[in-house]
C-alpha cells in the first residue's frame, strides 16, 4: 500500500494533530519537495525544524496557488546524524530556510552553495560565529573596490550592513548582512505564556505591519483554540489590513520621490500618509493599528462613525494621490531614475521565491488574499494587480495601482459590513490551545505573504512558534536587483522594495 507522503490543509481553518503528519525518510522528502517545487504554482511557505524528544523534527509547508491547498511534509533526524543533502541547488528558493536551519541547529547541507549566517540568533548552534566575522564574499582584483554601508544608515531607518563590490560605479555584487535587529521573538512566543503578551509580540514583529502580523497571529490562535469570529469582525480586519497597505504604499511613494529629489511628490505623499494613519488612530488610538486586532473579538469594533470617517478620508486621499502619482510617473526626470533600474526578471523571482508586491511587479500572480483566502476575502474575489517590468518603476507604479484597488476593496467591504449583523465581542484571552497540534496561518500584508505556524505540546502549551515575514524571501531580490546597476541607484532600489529588518531578524 502506498502511504501518503504529506498531509493537506488549508489556510487558517483546520489545525491538525502533529501525529497525523506523516514522517517520511529524508530521501523521499527530498524527492517530494523537488517534485512539488518544479511546478511553478507551488511555493515554499516555510521550512524549519525544532527539537522534540531528542530528535530534530522538520516541517516543510508548500502552498499550491491554484487550489489553495497547503501540503505539509515532515522528516525527523536522530541526534547522531548531522547532515542532509541540500535542496537549494535544485530549489533555490529553499536557500534561506536551509541556511536558517544550519544556523539554528548546526545541521550541515552538503551541496548548498553557501550556508552563510542569516541573523545571528542568541541561541545559534555556533557561538563562535559573530557579527564581526561575517564571511563576506570577496573577488580578488586590483580593478575592484568595496563599499561598506551600515549597520547604521544615513536616514532614520533600521540597521543592516550592505557591502558592495564595485567596478568603478557599477555594482558587481551586493552582500546584505542582517541580524542587528534580532530580539528573540520566536523564543518569547514560547516563554511568554500570556495571551495578551503574544498579541503584542505579534504586533511588534514589524511595527509597519502591525495589522498584518497581528492578524496572522490572531487567526492562528483562533484556529487552534476553536474560536469562531463573526462576519462583521472578519470584514473589519480586512479593512484594517487594506488601510495599512494604503498608508505604507503612499509613504513609500513619498520616499521614492524624495530619493530622486522630486520634492513635490515627497511632501504631498507624506501629508496623504498622515491622513490615512490618523484615520487608523481615529479608529483605534494608534497610528499603526497596534491594539486593533485581537483573537476572538475586538476592543475597537468598527462603528458607523468610524466607517464614515474612513470613507470620507479615503475619497480625498484617493483623488489627491491619483493626481500626484499621475504627475510623478509621467515626469521625464523621475522616469529617468526609475525606468529599467533595479530590474528583477520573472525567472529570477520565481527561482528565489519572491513574494508579495515585489513578485506582482514582475508578472507573478502571488497574493494570499486570492490564492489562500482568509477572513472575509473568502467571500470576496480579489484580482491582484500585476505589472511585468520588474524594475523600480514597476514597483512604484504597482503601489499606485494597489492603493486605488485597496480603496475600492474598502468601499465594498464597508458596504458588506453595513449589511451584516454586528455581534463583535471583546477579545478572548483565556483560550485553551488544542494539545499536540500544528496550525498555520497566512495573511497578505502590504509587503507580501506572512506565515505564522505553531506546534503545541501534549498540555496545549506552545512548543514551537515560527514567524516568516515576506522580507525573508525578498532580501535576495534586492541583492539581485542592484547587480550591474550604478551604485548611486541603490537607494531607489532599496526604497522600491522597502523590506523589513526586524521582520527578518525577529
Amino acid at each position: 500500500m502506498n502511504h501518503p507522503s504529506y498531509i493537506e490543509l488549508k489556510n487558517g481553518i483546520s489545525p491538525i494533530m502533529t501525529t497525523d503528519v506523516p514522517v517520511i525518510e529524508y530521501d523521499i522528502f527530498y524527492e517530494k519537495v523537488r517534485e512539488l517545487l518544479i511546478d511553478k504554482s507551488n511555493h515554499c511557505l516555510s521550512y524549519y525544524c525544532y527539537a522534540f524528544a531528542g530528535r530534530l523534527k522538520f516541517i516543510c509547508c508548500i502552498a499550491d496557488d491554484n487550489t489553495g491547498i497547503i501540503r505539509l511534509l515532515s522528516h525527523e533526524m536522530r541526534p547522531d546524524n548531522t547532515t542532509l543533502k541540500a535542496l537549494t541547488p535544485f530549489c533555490p528558493s529553499i536557500h534561506i530556510f536551509e541556511r536558517e536551519i544550519h544556523e539554528n541547529h548546526g545541521v550541515e547541507f552538503p551541496g548548498h552553495p553557501w550556508l552563510k549566517p542569516v541573523r545571528y540568533p542568541h541561541d545559534r548552534a555556533d557561538r563562535m560565529s559573530v557579527m564581526d566575522n561575517y564571511p563576506f564574499y570577496e573577488i580578488e582584483s586590483e580593478e575592484l573596490h568595496e563599499v561598506g554601508v551600515g549597520p547604521i544608515h544615513a536616514g532614520v531607518i533600521e540597521p543592516g550592513h550592505f557591502r558592495f563590490i564595485c567596478n568603478g560605479e557599477k555594482v558587481l555584487h551586493l552582500e546584505i548582512q542582517l541580524g542587528y535587529q534580532h530580539r528573540g521573538i520566536e523564543r518569547l512566543f514560547v516563554d511568554k505564556g500570556d495571551a495578551l503578551q503574544r498579541c503584542l509580540l505579534a504586533e511588534n514583529i514589524a511595527g509597519d505591519t502591525a495589522v498584518g502580523h497581528g492578524l496572522a497571529h490572531a487567526q492562528l490562535i483562533e484556529s487552534l483554540a476553536g474560536i469562531e469570529v463573526c462576519e462583521a469582525l472578519q470584514i473589519e480586519r480586512c479593512i484594517a489590513l487594506e488601510m495599512e497597505r494604503i498608508a505604507v504604499h503612499i509613504g513609500d511613494t513619498a520616499a521614492l520621490s524624495g530619493d530622486v529629489a522630486y520634492q513635490l511628490g515627497q511632501v504631498t505623499c507624506e501629508a496623504l500618509r498622515t491622513m490615512v494613519i490618523n484615520t487608523t488612530q481615529f479608529w483605534c488610538g494608534n497610528r499603526f493599528g497596534k491594539g486593533l486586532v485581537r483573537p476572538g473579538g475586538s476592543n475597537y469594533p468598527l462603528t458607523e462613525e468610524t466607517a464614515g470617517e474612513i470613507l470620507k478620508v479615503l475619497e480625498e486621499v484617493e483623488r489627491r494621490y491619483e493626481n500626484v502619482t499621475g504627475r510623478i510617473y509621467t515626469l521625464p526626470s523621475v522616469l529617468g531614475r526609475f525606468e529599467d533600474i533595479g530590474r528583477v526578471t520573472r525567472p529570477q523571482a520565481e527561482s528565489i521565491g519572491v513574494v508579495g508586491m515585489a513578485a506582482r511587479s514582475c508578472g507573478i500572480v502571488r497574493d494570499i488574499r486570492r490564492t489562500h483566502p482568509f477572513q472575509y476575502y473568502r467571500n470576496f474575489e480579489i484580482n491582484p494587480v500585476t505589472l511585468e517590468a520588474g524594475d523600480v518603476l514597476a514597483r512604484g507604479m504597482l503601489r499606485a495601482l494597489e492603493v486605488k484597488a485597496s480603496a475600492g476593496i474598502i468601499r465594498a467591504l464597508i458596504d458588506s459590513w453595513r449589511k451584516t449583523e454586528k455581534s463583535v465581542g471583546r477579545p478572548v484571552y483565556n483560550y485553551k490551545l488544542r494539545p499536540g497540534s500544528f496550525a498555520i496561518s497566512l495573511t497578505e500584508g502590504w509587503r507580501g505573504e506572512i506565515c505564522h505556524t505553531v506546534v503545541t505540546d501534549s498540555e496545549g502549551n506552545v512548543l514551537h512558534y515560527k514567524v516568516k515575514d515576506p522580507s525573508q524571501h525578498n532580501w535576495m531580490a534586492l541583492a539581485l536587483a542592484v547587480r550591474n546597476q550604478e551604485i548611486s541607484d541603490f537607494p531607489v532600489c532599496n526604497k522600491s522594495f522597502n523590506l523589513s529588518y526586524c521582520g527578518h531578524d525577529l
Binding site: V156, H182, L188, L264, T274, G285, N286, F288, K290, R327
Partner: protein, 250 residues
Amino acid sequence: MLKEIRILTDHGKQYIPDLRKQPVSERFRGRPVISEVITREEIEKVAAICPVNAIDRRNGSIDLGRCTFCNECALMLPGTIGFTNDYRIAASRRGDLVVMTGQTEVLRLDETAVRKEIRRLFRRSLKLRQVSAGGDNSCEMELAASCNVNFDLGRFGIEFVASPRHADGIVITGPVTENMSEALEICYKAVPSPKVIILVGTDSISGGLFEGSPALQRGFIDRHPVDLYVPGNPAHPLTFINGVMDLLGL
C-alpha cells in the same frame, strides 16, 4: 509647472501651526489617570493582566517607561483607569514617568534636571543621529514623520543628520539588541562632547515587551546618562517634539 502648482494648491497648507496645542484623536492613548479610590483588589486585577509589569502592585501607579499603552487595564476598569489623549508625557528623569493614583495634573519636564549646557549650546540648533537597536520600525517611522511636512521639526533647528560626527546627540529606539550593542557604542563615541542621549519608545526605555529576552544587551543604557525619555509604542511625533522642545526650553 502649472500641474505642480495645481497639485500644491489642492493640498493646501499641511503644516501644524502650533505643535504644543495640536489636537489628536480622542482615542489616542497618552497620559493615564488612575482614580485615587482604586481598591487593592482592583490594583491586583489589573497588575495581573499587564503584559509588561507597568502597574505597581504596591500603590497602583503606572510606569510609562514600561507601559505599551495597550489599554487593557483601562478597558478592565473603565472609570477607574483611563488614558487621556494628552501626548505631552516625555520626562528628563526616569522616575518622573511614573504616574501615581489620583494624579491628574499634566506632566511637565523638570527644568532643574536638565543639564545647563544643553540649553546653552543646543537651544537654537540641535542635530541628532538616530540609532535603531532592535526597534520595530514604528518609532523610527514616527521620528521620520516628526520632520515631515506636517510636523516640520526643522522649524526649530532640530534635525536628524547622516553622521554621528555632525550630531550633538543620539536618539535610540528599540530594546538594544546584543547584535547592535557594539555599533551603538561606537556611534555614541563618535559624537563630539558634550552630547545628549534621548530614548524613544517603551522598548528603549525599559526593554518593554522584550525585557528579559536573552537576545538583548542593555549595558549601554545603564552606563550612560540619559537626558530625555519619550514613552510610547510607538512614541507619537508630538510626544517626541514636545519633549525635545521642553528639553531645550523652547
